[in-house]
Amino acid sequence: MDQGRSSLAFRLRPMPARLRISCAAKPETVDKVCEIVRKQLALPSDKPVTCDSKFAELGADSLDTVEIVMGLEEEFGITVEEDNAQNIATVLDAAELIDKLCSEKSA
């Protein structure tokens, strides 16, 4: 006979993630990216650089963006493909790509 609700043996369904974390990359990666961006663009230390900072807003042109990506490649020992490099516009984009490439490298 089916005991139904008396036993607690129901399967646990995974809940859909309604709350999305604003920064989906590792914080130490984001910190390193911010530091490299700051150095490349020679930003004053009181200017905030966060996950959502767009390079264009921080005063970077496309040449600066290429240099930043080069700096990130050297720092993390990765190689960014041409297509991926074109799509990097914010600090978060860069950090997520770095995390993905580093995990692929160590996998």
């Binding site: 042109d61 040449l63 290429v66 240099e67 080069m70 041409e82 490099a85 074109q86």
Partner: protein, 90 residues
């Protein structure tokens, strides 16, 4: 007359030049290549004339070929002793 290079072409050339700069073993040549690339691209950023753009772009491509050949040849004769600037302070 060659067609004017697109923005993507120019950025790809920039990236290629920076990458080839990294391949040099000699610190001085590496730093010079990077510095010269950055300076040249920044100076020519304001160009709008089609023929000037094409000329600058083909000049850049020729320099890229030169740099690639040089990087290969230098790597065959790389000195064992690294420059003091390459040695990271421990």
């Amino acid at each position: 007359m060659a067609a004017a290079p697109t923005r993507i072409d120019v950025l790809q050339l920039y990236r290629s030049l920076m990458r080839v700069a990294r391949q040099f073993c000699d610190y001085n040549i590496r730093e010079y290549t990077k510095r010269r690339t950055i300076d040249a691209f920044r100076d020519n950023k304001i160009l709008t004339n089609c023929s000037q753009l094409s000329a600058a772009f083909s000049d850049g491509k020729a320099q890229l070929e030169v740099a690639k050949r040089r990087a290969l040849v230098y790597s065959l004769y790389a000195p064992k002793v690294k420059s003091i600037m390459d040695i990271k302070p421990s």
